[in-house]
Amino acid sequence: MGRYLLRRLGFGLLLVFVVSSAALLLTRLAPGDIAAPQCLELSAEKCAELRASLGLNRPFLPQYLSWLGGVIRFDFGRSLLYSRPVGSLLGERALNTAVLAIFALLAATLIGIPLGIYTGTRAGIMRSIVRAISLIGISVPPLIGSLALVFLAARTGWLPVGGMTSSGGLELTWAAWFADLARHVPLPALALAIPMAATLERLQSEAIASASHEPFVAASRARGVDRSRSILHHAWPVSLRPVLGLYGVMIGSLFSGSFVVEVVTSWPGLGRLMFDALKARDLFLVAGCAATGAFFLAAGTLLSDLLLAYTDPRVTTGESR
């Protein structure tokens, strides 16, 4: 187990390194740089001066090596777009994205899993209704879902549209800030959660339907265990394996989805930051965002794999084979 973990961690680090380096290189190769808009109004000498003062005229290799040297000491360079160290900017925005992702995952789990258990074990009209809703749910990707929810919110005024807080946030007390945040979270989180909840419902439904046909469930019923207990205590734990496996896959789509939702609802998260950094050609910020994205993805996948191994001892880590 220890070696498996170490290998996975190593691979994750490699991924973060490659992704951020590639992002840096590609952005550097891209036409235009962060000084380009200002240079439109400056003379050639002034422009060259500006570039030199921003360090844009350095050759790629020394620039890259000094950046790499900084990264080892957790110094991710300075964002020229925001005039702030990249590290603190990233921490702030990554936290915002994490808030969104966690609420979305929670909502998807709390809606999808119970409904899946229900539709997988009961027959009747309610099941058909839930199935139909869930089919619609998987067909509403975050882009469509967030646009629809924004439309709904703007029309009805039930929820604030866009942003993470309504005011600057600084002059608010903690409680007021939290209440404000709680009003802003549901819309983007729901847009992300709808397709995930539907996917979970369908998979859980399939998994528990096949698990409840296993002999040991019949045996528990024969021993006199009542139906709902035999489903929840005997069939459900066994059906969890494919469901937990899905979480690993979902983290990737959560990531892509949250980018779209952040753009549509002006949520100040990592995706938006990356987009702004790319447009402005803010080299170190692009690299930092790419690194954080890759890190989240690698960490999420690892976490879901560990959870899988923990709940199902049959999962081998490649050593016992």
Partner: protein, 309 residues
């Protein structure tokens, strides 16, 4: 259900294909007096369907009133340049949403189809080659595929598109974006194909073909890749809506097609702020179209298993 979904997909593809004949107006045709005109409802006047024309009531508020004293024939029957008919409303430039939806279907579905075909083709070739040859080729191809699969896809697409010049001619954008999609899409196909080919190549029919003197190319093309047909079809139906959505996302944030080109993404980009969305919901028509495509592909690919019916 599966049949109905297939019919719906074919119908949508036909709409896209026949856009120039079905669309009442050109995609870029703007009627300056009709910015954000609401949809008009056709009714029957005798035997011919007609609408009441719109009159601008307040230019500042962009408010229109229905002039019920007059009627205008539908543009398919008779075109009246002074009184255009917007069955699905008009967008922020006064362009007909229905026409743009049809032309946009061409761009969006066309791009997704090209990218899907490319990804399936490259994925099938790479996967089959890896599965058939085995050894270090297999190892190398699959490592690359695994690596691409764990990348944060949206960032890869963003970076690849953003580092290229932002303003490009539409045909270049089409090629470029489809190549980017192929690049992130092929591993999904390749992994399955490799697994199938690695098993199938040891089957008797392959050995029979080998003993009859068939070369590796022939075996791959005639025997092994056709054996993956089902997998390829499933992957194609999964990739197609994903690519349509990816195009919409790219164009929505301004990294896809430039505005005068009608694509579902550029149309959504025009619709995409809170104020506009609330006041002019008909500009969200492409969102409904994308939903229809995703829904029908979901109906095609995912049915509950017999045990769970």
């Amino acid at each position: 259900m599966t049949r109905r979904a297939a019919i719906m997909l074919v119908a949508l593809a036909l709409f896209a294909l026949l856009a120039p004949w079905l669309a009442p107006y050109q995609a870029g045709e703007a009627f300056s007096g009709f910015l954000h005109a609401p949809p008009m409802r056709p009714h029957l006047d005798g035997l011919s369907p007609v609408v009441h024309p719109l009159v601008l009531a307040d230019r500042l508020e962009q408010r229109f009133e229905i002039d019920s004293s007059r009627t205008v024939k539908l543009p398919w029957i008779e075109r009246d340049a002074a009184a255009p008919v917007f069955l699905l409303g008009a967008d922020d430039f006064g362009r007909d949403v229905l026409s743009r939806l049809l032309y946009g279907a061409r761009t969006s579905i066309g791009l997704a189809l090209v990218a899907t075909l490319g990804a399936v083709l490259i994925g099938a070739l790479a996967g089959a080659w890896a599965g058939y040859r085995g050894g270090w080729i297999d190892e190398a191809i699959m490592r690359v595929a695994d690596f691409v699969l764990v990348l944060p896809v949206i960032y890869v697409v963003l970076v690849l598109r953003a580092v290229l010049p932002l303003v490009l001619p539409p045909s270049t954008v089409f090629l470029l974006v489809s190549w980017i999609f192929v690049l992130v899409g092929w591993p999904f196909v390749a992994k399955g194909v490799r697994a199938i080919v690695a098993v199938e190549r040891n089957r008797e029919y392959v050995q029979a073909a080998q003993s009859l003197g068939a070369g590796p190319l022939r075996i791959l093309a005639v025997h092994l890749i056709p054996a993956c047909g089902g997998h390829l079809l499933v992957q194609a139906t999964l990739l197609l809506p994903a690519f349509i959505l990816a195009e919409a996302t790219l164009s929505f944030i301004g990294l896809g097609f430039p505005d005068p080109i009608a694509s579902w993404g550029t149309m959504l980009a025009g619709a995409g702020n809170y104020n506009a969305v609330a006041r002019f919901p008909w500009t969200l028509a492409p969102a409904v179209a994308i939903f229809a495509i995703v829904l029908s592909t979901n109906l095609l690919t995912s049915q509950p298993s017999p045990r769970n019916r």
